[in-house]
Point group: C2
Chain length 370, copies 2
């Protein structure tokens, strides 16, 4: 008998968290004209990051990366006002989520998340043989009270919350998040995914306080900073929670381009402020386009806008397919109730113009008017 | 009680596979003048790779990488003469080794390797709660007969062999590797690490044959191709062995720079031939410098030369410390018998000149002549 995956891996489905737009492009033979589906940094990277990448391409790619991401962690520690030992850098939040599930739960442990929240987190939970307990959204927001109650009832090892939320774009203010953290049992690790933290209104992110013994917060350079392709995210929390990552992580896994570009980006606050302005304007424009076509835009604290298509999931799926066929890459929530919506990432003006042209056609087709 | 790592992670040591030269530089406050310790691509990357990185910096970093590494896998499949489904790309061989241990063994399973072979493999074995069985080197080469016999005796899930070998630089020819594969029980997965395959003499690498049901071969762009900083490696084998990676890997973990630069590098065969010539010349020069100082160079099929310091491990460690103090970053084997040696990576002429100047001083200090 040849080697075979162990029973845990063998039993996993062959599905992956996301089908990439590149696959659709290969299958259709057509490139998307507007890439508005993955909440990327369509306004590009900071000029300082581009310069840092050019330097790294000349001088650093031949060498292994610094396995401690020292310079980047130092800059992050200063910015956040925490100790170096309270931060770990990883190859994107995705990689860090996998490590968290691997480190802080045992096989069979219960892990709580919202039904319809980030699928890559669920992928890691299943991949390590942990068990999910899900809580429905309430009024298109993660239901903090129910999440805390379920964490308690299930004696959960981990509870996952994203704030601002993906895929709905909604958010809670810092006081609500703090109250939620207080309500979660101390033995349950709270994973607070703040991938969209930079684009949220003031008062959304709780003050940095690494004294809470059961909280890890996650941030990324993939969204506002426009560096999704380089894979760079970080986690921070107490030293006791951060130290174990070093026992199992792929130490040389954060590449030199990611470390260099992320560090340079941090230094360019004016560029970030300008980009946040563009993101806010694009959100307004997506909401306006939706409104012109009879769709309700959910309030958003992220770099995307979730549009309520006003009917059921099948209808929204038909709208999504029409948009894709018209050269607009978008995605949509899949869980019941949420699935009435499509999710449109902020894009450059020409991309949103293409969206504006394609949406009425897709809607007419989906409604059967065409 | 706050959250705590699970018992498996909790019991792991806090050590990491390698201390980085960046840490030594931070601690001493002095930059190394010659970086000859990590078997990197000191002759740089292909010009085509540099151009591809510049393009990617402008156009691609804002977007998530293609999670299927389609273009790169297509080029590799053509080059190797295998199917696309027989290749998986990962963030360096390190990341792939972790996945192999995770997929193809259960907790408590025995995994066989040579005593003193690649520590990162052992790190993953421990990290996933698998158990190591080690086989001593024989005459400074991995002992293929003993590895196969141990795999059989231990009913091992996996046996790991690197050819050419790290840290000794020695190698077996293709016929010996094929005979070894025949001798390993079919139920044991053979992991053949060919990180140094490009620098080996003709006849070292077995012909590509993905029919063998228990063989995964690993290659990298970190060595001959000079792209260690980008993290790009790949594995190939039967479809049955490659398919399970998609169930657990971090799909978006191979960054856009790695995919673009690796693909471009593959296309520049003249550059590779030139670089291999420089590597061979630098090996000769390291052997000459060693010989001039009374040290025996082991034959090498890699981008480093292992020098026998002629006494015990303590002496070789003293030589290494003298070199490090003199601005030469080198590493050394640590297992008994092998530990009489230091390992010197190929470098640019000015780096080897600095090594030539520093070595006699380090040797005199180690011998107590100074």
């Amino acid at each position: 008998m040849p080697p075979h995956p162990n029973p845990l891996v063998d039993a996993l489905p062959a599905t992956i968290p996301f089908v990439a737009p590149e696959r659709t492009e290969r299958e259709t033979g057509t490139a998307f004209e507007a890439r508005l589906g993955a909440n990327e940094g369509n306004f590009g990277a900071a000029p300082a990051a581009t310069a840092a990448m050019a330097r790294a391409a000349r001088e650093a790619v031949r060498n292994y990366p610094d396995p401690e991401s020292w310079a980047l962690r130092e800059a992050l520690a200063t910015r956040l006002g925490v100790a170096l030992e309270e931060i770990v850098v990883g190859p994107g939040i995705d990689g860090l989520l996998g490590l968290i599930v691997r480190i802080f739960a045992r096989e069979g442990d219960k892990i709580v998340t919202s039904l319809g929240a980030y699928p890559t987190f669920n992928y890691h939970v299943a991949g390590y043989g942990r068990r999910l307990a899900t809580v429905p959204y309430r009024d298109d927001r993660e239901d903090l009270d129910a999440l805390a109650a379920t964490a308690r009832a299930e004696n959960a090892a981990i509870v996952y919350v994203s704030n601002p939320d993906n895929p709905m774009g909604t958010w809670w203010d810092a006081a609500a998040i703090d109250a939620f953290c207080d309500a979660v049992p101390e033995r349950t690790l709270i994973v607070l995914d703040e991938a969209y933290g930079e684009t949220a209104p003031a008062g959304t992110l709780p003050p940095i306080n690494t004294a809470r013994p059961n909280l890890i917060r996650l941030r990324t350079f993939s969204k506002a900073y426009g560096l999704a392709g380089l894979r760079c995210g970080y986690a921070f929390g107490t030293k006791a929670l951060i130290a174990p990552f070093d026992k199992v992580r792929d130490h040389f896994g954060v590449n030199v381009m990611a470390q260099a570009a992320a560090l340079a980006s941090l230094g360019d606050r004016d560029w970030l402020a300008g980009t946040l302005g563009k993101i806010a304007a694009a959100r307004d424009e997506i909401a306006r386009i939706g409104g012109d076509n009879g769709l309700t835009a959910l309030p958003s604290a992220t770099n995307f806008v979730t549009l309520d298509c006003g009917r059921d999931g099948d209808h929204a799926m038909a709208v999504l397919k029409g948009l894709m066929a018209g050269g607009v890459f978008v995605r949509k929530p899949m869980a019941p109730v949420l699935d009435r919506c499509i999710r449109v990432s902020v894009g450059r003006p020409e991309e949103l113009a293409h969206f504006a042209t394609t949406l009425p056609i897709a809607l007419a087709q989906a409604r059967g008017d065409a």
